[in-house]
Amino acid sequence: MCVKRVPLTGGRMVLTADEQAIETRHLGFTISPHEECGVEEAVRIVEAQGGETTVLTLGPPEAEEQIRETLATGADRGILLAVEGEEWDPQATAGAILSTIESEEASGGAFDLIVFGNESADSGNFQVGIRVAHALGRPVVTGLKGLTVDGGRARCEQEVAGGRDVYDVPLPAVVTVLEGINLPRYPSVPAKLRARQKPIDKSSPERPDSRLEKLRLVLPPGQGKQAEILGEGADAAPAVVGVMRDLGVAP
């Protein structure tokens, strides 16, 4: 299961002075929502069928916190590719994940299933899982809202207009999942304590040049409009209904 540390942005984003990142001094961190569900899905499969869940991340050394969180919700071991400095582009990220998977598989055998979030919450590149799958020569199905692993195959369900599209692929395979595929558990206190004892392997790959090169970040225009206050409490109801009628949405 591959995850990415991202800030909990709250209501308003502020950029750093060099326009290269979001100011995170006052923010907490988490993993992308799709990935929280990916971890839960992997853990449920292992609970039902046996095996082991490994969580892999490429991020700053502090991303160890996010690995510990996944270990507290049922993952077995972590791999941290600790990198500092500039952001990695999706091609470089996929390359580092691929090398790690290849060396893990050389010693431990193939992962039956490699899970990604459909896209990261922050950079939203939509491609890392597909690149890794292509390099490994394995089938990849994206955007899953349903997954059943049985008899060496994965039945994968995508939500589309009017229903669900179903794919059936042989393992080993790569999948990318969406939030809503399950409802992730919260970690218990004993689970958090056990997570401290679980192993995390660390290494520090070199960052290649970006081929999708971030020049700067920009806040979109049109932020910070101020709402017209229609009133306070229940007394505002006639004004609200007036607005609804003006908009043509109320009888």
Binding site: S123, H134, G180, K214, L215, G224, A236
Partner: protein, 323 residues
């Protein structure tokens, strides 16, 4: 620049987001003829609609195995088309399939792929503005690789038309599909049991957040929604707590809505949520905190306890219906 645009169609009807992507593709082409690539049944029929969107040539990938969607087969159609045309850039809509197919193309050709672009800043060297955080942040990025692979973020570029254009010339070709291209393909479609008004298409959405307090608290929102023929939505906090199903979630990782009126009850206005509701024409916030971030995205606000305000609005609407 010679540009190839991937166009999605259903039963011969071109998808609106593909028309939007054509606007950016035409800007990138900067006067050179624009070629559209369509795949599968209906491609030929759909291509006739593209002249008024500035497409000079349509290339239709035809093979009976393109009938059921297979991302690898579409990617093969794109790479074959690149070989035929020697194209400088490929532009796709930033849809589920557009982003998926271009990711496959990028992986096969070992090229960068800029997903969800909103603007072309410079043609040489190619610099784009792309969407991050579901639209809460923009990134200016340079693309180092040729052909450049770009998808266009939905609803950031209007689908513009050109005057006096002829229907494009149409050429079909058979992509050299191999077994691996077809390993992953739609095997089955299951129809959904639809009930009520769909969140994505509702004219009014009554949405609740942490401030609603409990699953039961949504009862009063449902009552108001029924009077307004509205759908009920919620924030991510609510689905994480298990009060509502994920299908009701509005947000970056939920449903993106575009109603005439979005009523946000007890929703603080995290960027994750705003990414899902900023397509609304008007937003009404009902919140106990006059400093909540939602007020910076809302058009109207009522300050106070939503458990008093929502039933009062419902009562006021009912009063209006009495003879």
């Amino acid at each position: 620049m010679s540009v190839l645009a991937l166009v999605e169609q259903i039963d011969g009807q071109v998808d609106e987001l593909s028309l939007q992507a054509l606007s950016l593709a035409r800007e990138l082409a900067d006067g050179e003829p624009l070629t559209a690539l369509l795949a599968g049944e209906g491609g030929r029929e759909a291509s006739a609609q593209l002249g008024s969107h500035g497409v000079a040539n349509a290339l239709v990938a035809e093979d009976e195995r393109l009938g059921a969607y297979a991302p690898g087969a579409w990617a093969r159609s794109v790479t074959d088309a690149i070989d035929r045309l020697g194209t400088g850039a490929v532009v796709a809509p930033g849809t589920v399939r557009g982003n998926e197919v271009l990711s496959h193309v990028a992986a096969r050709l070992d090229l960068p792929f800029a997903a969800n672009c909103a603007a072309i800043d410079e043609r040489s060297p190619l610099t784009v503005t792309r969407v991050r955080w579901g639209g809460s942040l923009l990134e200016e990025a340079r693309v180092h690789g040729s052909p450049a692979l770009l998808s266009v973020a939905p609803h950031t570029v209007p689908a513009a038309t050109v005057n006096g254009a002829d229907a494009p010339s149409v050429e079909s070709f058979a992509p050299a599909l191999d077994e691996n291209d077809l390993l992953v393909r739609v095997a089955e479609h299951v129809d959904a049991a639809t009930a009520g008004i769909s969140l994505a298409e509702a004219k009014v959405v009554v949405s609740g957040g942490r401030g609603v307090g409990s699953a039961d608290g949504f009862g009063m929102l449902e009552e108001l929604a029924e009077l307004l023929h509205a759908a009920v939505g919620c924030s991510r906090v609510v689905t994480s707590a298990g009060w509502r199903p994920h299908t009701d979630q509005v947000g970056q990782t939920g449903t993106k809505v575009s109603p005439d009126l979005y009523i946000a009850c007890g929703i603080s206005g995290a960027t994750q949520h705003i990414a899902g509701c900023k397509g609304a024409k008007k937003i009404l916030a009902i919140n106990s905190d006059a400093e909540a971030p939602i007020l910076a995205s809302a058009d109207y606000a009522v300050i106070g306890d939503l458990t008093e305000i929502v039933p009062a609005i419902t009562a006021e609407l009912r009063k209006g219906r009495e003879p």
